[in-house]
Symmetry: C2
Subunit: 399 residues, 2 copies
Amino acid sequence: MGKVLIIGAGGVANVVAHKCYQNSEVFDEICIASRSIEKCNEIRNKLTGGNANVLTDQLDANNSDLVIGLIKRFKPDVVINVALPYQNLSIMDACVETGVHYIDTANYEPPEVPKFEYKWQWEYRDRFAKKGIMALLGCGFDPGVTGIFCAYAQKHYFDEIHSIDIVDANAGDHGYPFATNFNPEINIREVTANGRYFENGQWIETEPLSIKSVYNFPLVGPKNIYLLYHEELESLAINIKGLKRIRFWMTFSDNYLNYLNVLKNVGMTSIEAIEYEGNKIIPLKFLKAILPDPAALGQRTKGKTNIGCIIQGVKNGEPKSYYIYNVCIHEECYKEVGSQAISYTTGVPAMIGAMLILKGIWKKSGVFNVEEFDPDPFMEALNKFGLEWNEDFSPDLLD
Amino acid sequence: MGKVLIIGAGGVANVVAHKCYQNSEVFDEICIASRSIEKCNEIRNKLTGGNANVLTDQLDANNSDLVIGLIKRFKPDVVINVALPYQNLSIMDACVETGVHYIDTANYEPPEVPKFEYKWQWEYRDRFAKKGIMALLGCGFDPGVTGIFCAYAQKHYFDEIHSIDIVDANAGDHGYPFATNFNPEINIREVTANGRYFENGQWIETEPLSIKSVYNFPLVGPKNIYLLYHEELESLAINIKGLKRIRFWMTFSDNYLNYLNVLKNVGMTSIEAIEYEGNKIIPLKFLKAILPDPAALGQRTKGKTNIGCIIQGVKNGEPKSYYIYNVCIHEECYKEVGSQAISYTTGVPAMIGAMLILKGIWKKSGVFNVEEFDPDPFMEALNKFGLEWNEDFSPDLLD
């Protein structure tokens, strides 16, 4: 039916490639391109359960001209960008130039400092619209499925949504005393950043990890959760009309936070170089060197993730609450595609988004977030492709 | 009256020099010698409250011939060794050669691995005896005053001592989230070593920090204490006749142990070099470089130390218990001599030992531990020179 270009060769790209290949009646040609063609080939060599034609290519996605060149050679119908968020704009430029649909799973970041803002990408609206093509932003799990859950709730269960709490639990255990699920440098900078949430038309900033609660996650159990800022809050605060409050919460174990706190207090998370035996050494980079490699965690990780939305509002004049969530099991994901649940829950939705575009089911010209489309075909595909969802019509609520 | 050679220029040497100088009617000439003559001069320049003649000299105490040379030039009556424990034997050799009394505050350590054993120094017995001079080993606080407390209890209060618990509390606060009171490399290696205690004629080895209790220290309050090995256990197990059990306990805060545990678990206390940006870096040495300099803690440290002995035995056929302890205040020590209580409690007894030798009050030929002498004049001097002691005849006991 169509051709997909996957840019990136990390854990999420691995999941996207597996899921596209399993769905070969939709994706009959797949190209995997990244800076390291060896990693692309490694992914290709493990694909099973399909019959699509799979190519690989070496690509520096920072260079828009190189992306244009590859698109012109391979002629994809859609590009799935699961490379680094620094590269979103160079890839979008190439899509506009060549007239190809675009999907990503995380907002563009200026390399210097993480901002978690859509503004740079929303500025491409006219260019995509004029070309008659679509950019689908943030089509992973969170952002991604969390927005689709909200759109689904809005469509089927509410006249007006007043409050959304996105709750993200990773109850996986990798067996190390301390490790980060992705690049420790970026992980630690994110967790130590200020929190932010939307209430009554205003954004409220909070000290890092200063707002804490406990939530009893189905199939996972009670966990401490901490209020963080997360990028889907920005688009949902605009796209869910009548919304009074939206917050994002993530679980961190006491152990994880204790390690982080100790390492921060002794100075090991500092990004200021110190003199050591005649060399300049940045403590955080040295720490990264002694911590376990995140890529090695996949096959060790056991346990579940549970990510969902607790939604409150009114239906037929009555107050109503609704909780919709997905539970994913690390070791089953690893068994199926060779990546754990964090990558799995991000990669599957990206494939589904591409499928809906290729099939013409999601069809608009311009730049969009996922909650701006009919959620029903996406929700159906989640159940089919490994991310079954569950509903609870009398959930526990957060204060 | 006499001449003292102080070898070393660290925190303890600073205290010894101040205390000898305050006691100029006993010590009318003082020489301070260490590898760095600048540090010796710094100490000299701060001395007040006396009128002794004070010299300084540059000395590499690893080299016995250089120590002999200095002794021959300065002609001291006694040498107080408060340099590194690696240098005890070279200094003892020089004292034997020149016929000068010797005092130290910590047992000799082979440089490769800490052993905490007296055997190397006890082997000098005949050589010191033949020369008609005395070596007084471990004349700081612990070892040192703890042994004198036991001898005092034996002399005045017990027919037989059955059990001794030495309890050492440092309730000082330096205001840093984590720092070590001396070289972090050595400190961390010690704390993570196996524990050991003596019971019914046998030495029993324990996992590091595996035996924990709580003791309510007078003027300090209840603190967690952990069983460690400490060198005075070796000599007291021999010198206190009839002893059935002796143990040593030290306080560590939950915070200190938590930091230590996290740093150990992430690999920051490892002494195995790792490759980092083309250099070999030992994590523990890098950690030392980012932690506060122990020398900078003195003027920041507030709070008290409480070190003493809880002693059980029989008197006139009746069971009896007795607790004797000293409480020292960090900021008062710093105010008096420019060092905090850890250095103060070690340096004052070294001066007292030298005084008793110079005055001929403690007079034997050979190598001795402090509990082998009449404790009364030492106990009197402790009260006079800043280390007042307190007695409790119905103390809390440890199981």
